[in-house]
């Protein structure tokens, strides 16, 4: 695991240097004025301004104190929100989302498949999304470790990684693993098999940890002839689950399976960050709230398979009212381009307030990814990831006019061609 941590540190270091090279220095200080600022955490500010310094929000309010040299962007009275956050995406992975050759593959690193040139990153950026959690598919009970990106299309690969984002791991359950392996006459082909495979893997990780503990104890005691256990990437990753070092994200539909996953987490002593899809969460919302587990769900998708048959569009708001942290996610190259509309539907289905609806695609999604201290709302100190909207964002008519990431414009609808200042076709 140390190897992986090192890898990330290296990447982050590299990405920061790459980023600073590509960021035009003229944009170091920017003031966006004349906007209806939807802060998410402390209401709306009409005719508000935002002062951006070195890619961070340095001031928010009716008036901000900024040097005269700052670049001024007049929002023309339009709505301004934080950049949207998609807590469940499979874009930019060139369909390499499932290493479906074994049901337990926690050592698969999404970063190794990340296709930073995928135009889907751009199309989603044009929909106002600035941060996405790129997850494995759900063929495997434990699919692998995710990557968090910022949609800085046009920059190099490492400059697109969200610096020092916590590492998430994707678990799955239900129909997909049993279909994938069952169709090959392999284990698992039932939900019993699914959970057995998962439990077996976690038991192996416990044994592995014990071997290392024994070895480390011997070394500490000064036993010269102690032989280290063999390093095993797969068990290293599972050990990190048990040590609480990874955010556990579980693809799970049915209420009974949500409860089984919770019981298993309790049995092995690890925490769950969020259930994804969670279309039956409304049936067990009290238990989810009590356990502090979030959900990343669809607004109204249903019926595409048996375990999506009890899906209802009120799921998000019913769970939220019970105290569950709810995000609306895309799980789709298409929905990711209009998450704002999907969130708007929660106003209709269950009566979410404007702030609540917006939280589901900003703060709550950021929390699920573990970056809520950095993005997801308009507050001083946070990354200047911002969207100026044509039309009201939580409606059929909301379309991003400009998208800022770390204070720099990455999409501008008014520009010809692709509308991207940092990208030109063929260069």
């Amino acid at each position: 695991m140390n190897r992986i941590a090192m890898y990330l540190v290296l990447l982050v270091g590299f990405s920061l240097s790459a980023f600073s090279q590509q960021l035009p220095s003229a944009h170091n200080e920017v003031v966006i004025k004349n906007a209806i600022v939807m802060t998410v955490t402390h209401g709306n500010i009409s005719n508000g301004s935002i002062y951006i310094k070195d890619g961070k929000i340095a001031g928010v309010g009716k008036d901000v104190h900024a040097p005269a040299s700052a670049t001024v962007v007049d929002a023309g009275g339009k709505y301004l929100t934080p950049g949207l956050i998609d807590s469940h995406s499979h874009i930019a992975l060139d369909e390499d989302v499932n290493e479906a050759t074994s049901p337990i593959t926690p050592q698969m690193m999404m970063i190794d498949a990340f296709d930073y040139q995928d135009k889907a990153i751009y199309r989603v950026l044009a929909g106002g999304v600035t941060t996405s959690l790129l997850l494995h598919g759900s063929a495997n009970m434990i699919g692998g470790q995710a990557v968090v990106i910022k949609h800085k299309y046009g920059l190099n690969r490492d400059a697109m990684l969200f610096p020092a984002a916590p590492q998430s791991i994707k678990f799955a359950s239900g129909e997909n693993p049993k279909r994938v392996y069952g169709s090959r006459d392999q284990l698992p082909s039932t939900r019993m098999g699914n959970f057995e495979v998962q439990r077996e893997a976690l038991v192996a990780a416990q044994d592995y940890m014990r071997e290392w503990d024994d070895y480390n104890a011997k070394v500490k005691k000064g036993e010269k002839d102690a032989t280290p256990p063999k390093h095993d990437l797969k068990l290293d990753a599972l050990a990190d689950v048990l040590r609480g070092k990874l955010l556990v994200q579980i693809h799970c539909y049915r209420a009974d399976e949500l409860l089984t996953e919770m019981a298993m987490a309790k049995e092995f002593g690890y925490k769950l960050r969020a259930f994804h899809h969670a279309l039956e969460a409304y049936k067990v919302a009290d238990q989810l709230a009590a356990a502090g587990i979030g959900i990343a769900t669809f607004s109204d998708w249903w019926g595409y398979k048996q375990e999506a048959w009890d899906a209802i569009p009120w799921n998000a708001v019913m769970c939220m009212r019970k105290g569950v942290r709810v995000a609306i996610k895309s799980d789709s190259d298409d929905f990711a381009r209009r998450l704002n509309q999907e969130a708007g539907k929660t106003i209709r289905y269950g009566g979410a307030t404007e702030d609540e609806a917006l939280q589901m695609i900003t703060m709550n999604a950021a929390w699920i990814i573990g970056v809520d201290d950095r993005v997801g709302s308009i507050e001083v100190g946070k990354d200047a990831d911002l969207v100026i909207w044509d039309g009201y964002p939580l409606s059929s008519y909301g379309v991003p006019n400009k998208v800022f990431i770390d204070g720099d414009v990455y999409f501008d609808r008014s520009l010809p061609g692709f509308g991207m200042p940092h990208y030109r076709e063929g260069e």
Partner: protein
């Protein structure tokens, strides 16, 4: 099931019990709402009267007489609009997508299947139908899935009724002819069979239409000989000609070869579009266009065809070399060129989201009124029911929606749906689950 009534609000429960009686005998007056007539503008504070399943009067409040015995429903603050029409769906042909036994979407054994009739599979009791109509969609084209070049014949349905018979308003209303490339039998490679190319698809279609022409000729010859024989007076000349065998497949193509019905010509890219149009012209087929999501370079040519376009879905991803909004803007681009457009869900479970597609298209330049027309009056006109549906006008079927705002906006909640004047219970499998788990 016991939650149907327990879970519903008292009002809905009462409506459920009393509706059939009221709708039959008494006029219903919706008073005080904002009427989006579609055909003649907006009436801010309007009255709309429904009687015997039809709209019998509408106009400004105060100047529109309400029959004495009418049941008056106060809809102040509400927006009233005609039932929405989905110009292509798979409603009634699928229940749970991944569960094959619940799907009757398309026959894949052959590509030329014009003798498949949607009405033979249409599942009137599908749980998807109440879910869809609760969003204000009252009518839909039901089409087979597009994996065949000629997958069968569409029906035009009303999304309420006691049986399939009541709901199937027009059987075999039109026939899809799909030429998008998805109809090739080329995947996987080792299972490749004819037609595995667009050339193969075109040749196969051409042969099918030629066969149908021959078939029509055989029957015409037979009928001619038969009538000649019948007129003969001499008994020994009365030897009847041999009757040709009926061929359901070829028979199904005849109304289209005769120009009595329209083919729904589906293509995506410009090259496919032109091939498909040429094919249709070769056989004098009447047609409307479908999809054309990637035909942006030839929209002027499309306009010269003077046919309507069922557009989109506009959520199709643009090609990598296209701007993000290349498909979003297609409805506006067509409208600008004077092409009549209609939207379709091309879906079943998500058919309820039809109005949002129209709304979204306005953010890319389609005028609002045109967007609303594209899911109401345009659709009705394209499907030949413009005299009965698609607008709030006297004499039209009372498919009327009451909502708390703009029909095209995701925030808007549909409060009541009337289909043929009937107050539809605002319940579905989904509302029942909601109520069951809301502890109501």
């Amino acid at each position: 099931m016991r939650n149907v009534l327990r879970g519903s609000s008292l009002v809905v429960g009462l409506l459920f019990l009393t509706t059939p009686v009221l709708a039959q005998q008494k006029a219903v007056a919706l008073r005080g709402g904002k009427l989006l007539t579609v055909s003649h503008g907006v009436i801010e504070h309007g009255v709309l009267i429904m009687e015997n399943g039809k709209i019998t009067a509408l106009g400004a409040e105060g100047s529109t007489a309400i029959p004495k015995d009418a049941r008056i429903i106060d809809v102040k603050g509400m927006t009233i609009y005609p039932g929405l029409i989905d110009s292509e769906s798979n409603l009634g042909l699928t229940e749970i997508s991944a569960e094959e036994m619940t799907n009757d979407l398309v026959e894949m054994s052959e590509e030329i299947m014009p003798h498949m009739h949607v009405y033979d599979a249409f599942h009137a009791e599908s749980e998807l139908i109440p879910v869809t109509r609760l969003n204000g969609i009252t009518n839909a084209i039901v089409a087979p899935d597009s994996k065949d070049t000629l997958p069968g014949q569409d029906s035009f349905v009303q999304l309420a009724g006691k049986s399939a018979d009541e709901m199937l308003l027009i059987r075999d209303i039109a026939m899809p002819l799909n030429f998008t490339g998805d109809q090739r039998r080329n995947v996987p490679r080792d299972k490749r069979k004819y037609p595995s190319t667009r050339m193969g698809m075109a040749a196969q279609l051409r042969q099918a239409f030629l066969d149908a022409q021959d078939y029509a000729q055989h029957w015409a010859d037979y009928e001619k000989k038969k009538s000649e024989t019948d007129t003969k007076t001499d008994e020994k000349d009365k030897k009847p000609p041999t009757q040709p065998k009926r061929d359901l497949k070829l028979e199904a193509l005849l109304p289209y070869l005769q120009g009595k019905k329209s083919v729904v010509l589906a293509a995506e890219e410009a090259s496919d579009l032109e091939t498909a149009v040429n094919l249709a012209r070769e056989f004098n087929l009447k047609f409307v266009l479908n999809h054309i999501s990637y035909s942006q370079p030839v929209l002027d040519y499309v306009a010269t065809l003077k046919v309507p376009v069922i557009v989109g879905p506009i959520y199709e991803a643009p090609k990598p070399y296209e701007r993000y909004d290349a498909v979003y803007a297609l409805p506006a681009q067509l409208n600008k060129r004077g092409v009549k457009i209609a939207f379709a869900s091309f879906d079943a479970h998500n058919a309820r989201n039809l109005p949002y597609q129209a709304g979204f298209a306005t953010a890319f330049g389609l005028p609002y009124d045109e967007a609303l027309k594209a899911i109401t009056l345009n659709a009705a006109e394209i499907w030949g029911v413009g005299d009965k549906l698609g607008s709030l006008d006297i004499g039209k079927t009372a498919n009327v929606i009451v909502a708390n705002g703009d029909p095209l906006d995701v925030k808007t909640d549909v409060k009541q749906v009337f289909i043929a004047g009937q107050e539809i219970p605002m319940t579905s499998r989904q509302t029942r689950l909601r109520d069951q788990y809301s502890g109501q």
